[in-house]
């Protein structure tokens, strides 16, 4: 497993280089002149040219890319075109809240999703199953921004239990994480249910029951564990998307995360921020996928990653 992990980490380098080239090209190809946007709409051509020179945007694209990569290797992500602040400083305040939000969302989603899935499977076609699946379908059908506003209205404005938005202690994470996790919770619930139903039909479960194993042990130790592989796959993929895909939730809850930073930066064509944020998301996605692959062997040692 260690050899496999090391190999995958080395493989990440060329992937990240290709991603950096592609993102660099894409953001320079999309229409919109950052110099004009930074200078403002009342700027004269001379002002715009001054800004372009100051930002180094008048250099050839290849030179700009090489400079960017050189800086990247020394841990320097450049300076934001709009705020004039180092990109790394902007990430410092945004990255951890986003990461915590993602983890908490995944925590809820996995915990509640697994419970609903297992509970539905062992009560197949009974009212708890119907209830669980209605909850799951609702979670995936309700748009995030609407669910967010609904939760704010109910829990913040009416009941006063949680803040309406912003980041101010642990309580600020509850409503955004529930909103963000709702869709994944539903997917995990549905995958767990179908996977559990399949596993519960398997011969080894019948054998276990025939040998007199307790029902609790059959469900948790044998059936659930064997059902987890497909659930981990779904959860892993979704986790990757969550890291960069929380824009709507971050906007509704005025949450100072990476998603909002990226959207704001795209509006201003803030190249250094967009480029570094995209690269960071790609990196996170690859790392999460690696963790998922490694988790497979933990769940089922028969899976040989090295081969």
């Amino acid at each position: 497993m260690w050899k496999y992990t090391a190999k995958r980490i080395v493989e990440m380098i060329p992937i990240l280089i290709v991603i950096s080239i592609l993102t660099f090209l894409f953001i320079h190809l999309i229409p919109g002149d950052p110099a004009r946007l930074v200078a403002g709409k009342d700027a004269t051509l001379e002002d715009v040219e001054n800004v372009r020179h100051e930002l180094g945007l008048d250099k050839p694209i290849l030179k700009q890319y090489v400079d960017y990569m050189k800086n990247l290797l020394t841990g320097e992500l450049g300076t934001s075109l709009t705020t004039g602040l180092p990109v790394i400083d902007m990430f410092k305040t945004r990255f951890m809240p986003s990461l915590h939000l993602t983890f908490l969302s995944m925590f809820w989603a996995t915990l509640i999703g697994l419970m609903i899935g297992v509970f539905s499977a062992i009560n197949k076609n009974k009212w708890p199953d119907y209830f669980g699946m209605v909850t799951a379908v609702s979670g995936i059908s309700i748009p995030g921004f609407w669910l967010g506003l609904l939760l704010i209205q109910l829990f913040s404005v009416q009941l006063g239990l949680f803040p309406t938005g912003g980041l101010d202690g642990f309580s600020s994470y509850i409503l955004p994480s529930l909103t963000l996790g709702a869709g994944i919770m539903s997917m995990i619930a549905r995958f767990t249910r179908s996977s559990m139903l399949e596993t519960l039909q398997a011969d080894f479960i019948r054998t276990g029951r025939a040998k007199g194993l307790k029902e609790h042990s059959v469900i948790v130790t044998h059936a659930l564990r064997n059902s987890l592989i497909s659930v981990v796959t779904v959860a892993g993929l979704q986790f990757g998307f969550l890291l960069g895909g929380s824009v709507v939730v971050e906007t509704v809850f005025s949450f100072p995360g990476m998603g909002r930073l990226l959207i704001d930066s795209i509006a201003f064509r803030d190249y250094p921020v967009i480029q570094s944020a995209l690269l960071l998301f790609a990196f996170e996605f690859i790392v999460v996928n690696l963790i998922v692959d490694v988790l497979y062997t933990v769940l089922n040692p028969k899976i040989q990653l090295d081969s």
Partner: protein, 527 residues
Amino acid sequence: MNYVKKLVFVILCTLLLAACAEKDNSNASNTGEKSTTESDTASSKNELVIAVNENFISMDPHNTGDTNSSSVQETMLEGLLGFDADGQIMKVLADDYSISEDALEYTFKLQEGVTFHDGEQFNAEAVKANIERIMNDESLRLYSRGFSLISKVEILGDYEIKVTLKEPYGPMITRFGVAKMISPKMIKENLADIPKQPVGTGPYKFVEWVQGDHLTIENFDGYWGGGDRVSKITYKPVPENGSRVAMLKAGDAQVIYPVPAQNIDELSNNKDVEINKVPSTIAHYVSLNTYKKPLDDIKVRQAFNYAVDKEAYLKVVNAGLGLPLDSIIPSKTVYYKQQKMYEHNIEKAKELLTEAGYPNGFDIEIWGNTNSDTMKGMQFIQQQLSQIGVKVEIKSMEEGTLSDEIYGAQTPDDAKLQMWYVSWSAYASDITNATKPLFHSVSFPPNGANTAYYQNPEADQLMDEANSISDVDRQAELYEKLQEIVYQDTPWIFLGVDEVVYGVRSNVSGVLVNPTGGLDVKNAKVE
């Protein structure tokens, strides 16, 4: 049922954890029902939370282009001059000032006994350091807005300074209002921190800025102007309209700006909240490309103005807020003179089109950004012009793409633009910026925002002369003439002027919004 019990247990644990986290939290700004209890706590602490719709971009006053950042800076930093509630120039750190007749020399007498938040003295040396920073650093926004025209800065005494320009520049007086003073020590030793944590002479001093989350300032005890005000203000960028409104209702914010048009009625009925409206300098118009057919014909352009019902525009597109645009500049702009409006008259519009040789109308494009209000505005224009047989095709483009399409044209011949649905805002005290970039022939894209490619030598001459003198009576005369000429030439469909709307909790007083949309909380109080 074992699982149900566990599930309930976990949820209860989390709620408990959340409750504990809230109790530990000393910052009273952020909790609900609060609507009475918590906001009362904030009140008793004499603190304000202000939710605005956009992020702050920079705290460097010499490099700021957005109103939101400027509003926050106003609380911490002061300029030689500033702006009153109507957006007109007033003295702040300057005790007095004079402008030479040729509009080249500006002499300022400075307030004495003023100190910066870091203990530095405010004097002529400090002013010189600030002005020289702007005039020497090309990357600063203010550099290209007048300060690059400064030829010398002379200290006439400890508290007197003279600034000389290379050539006259009308808006220079407004620029002195925008150029806030930073501690000379900071300029000398800590330039990199200016955009992050500026040090000025204002009634509030900087405490903390967590990008994208909040910016906090607190009362500066040694403020030279004295006065009674709240002890701490926290600004929060909340772009989502619904969330901002929820914050005001729950008491999580004591001030929100702007108030979304669709929530005005609901909030007006809430006894805990007050809603205020202020006429702005934000003008909405459709720029008509006067250089190319069919809009090169004044009759066509006038027909468009007669065809569009301005009152209906405000009701349909602006939720009933705002005033019709009855000159080339909004009424809050200095030297404004009301013009005789093009009344809504479909028959007259049709007659004019027929006279211009288009009895059956024609096809035309209107461009605008992807903002939903812009879309609504463009659809309104489309519907209005369809009544005179003109078929309007809407092309909405993302802001960056739109900017490229418009400013990418190097000559008027290259321009593909026909009509552009857009708005413009200038300082109320700066009529040059409200006219020259829009109507002067030197301002054709890409060199300016004269996207109507409007060219009238008489108008050019009026703007040039007004810009080269300091005699305000003569300037008023010239600008009044300019408004008449350009309004008659109709390079735009003149639509409306925004009213800005802000909401405050009932126990808060002293909050103002000036016509440029700047939020002024320097004298805010909580009862």
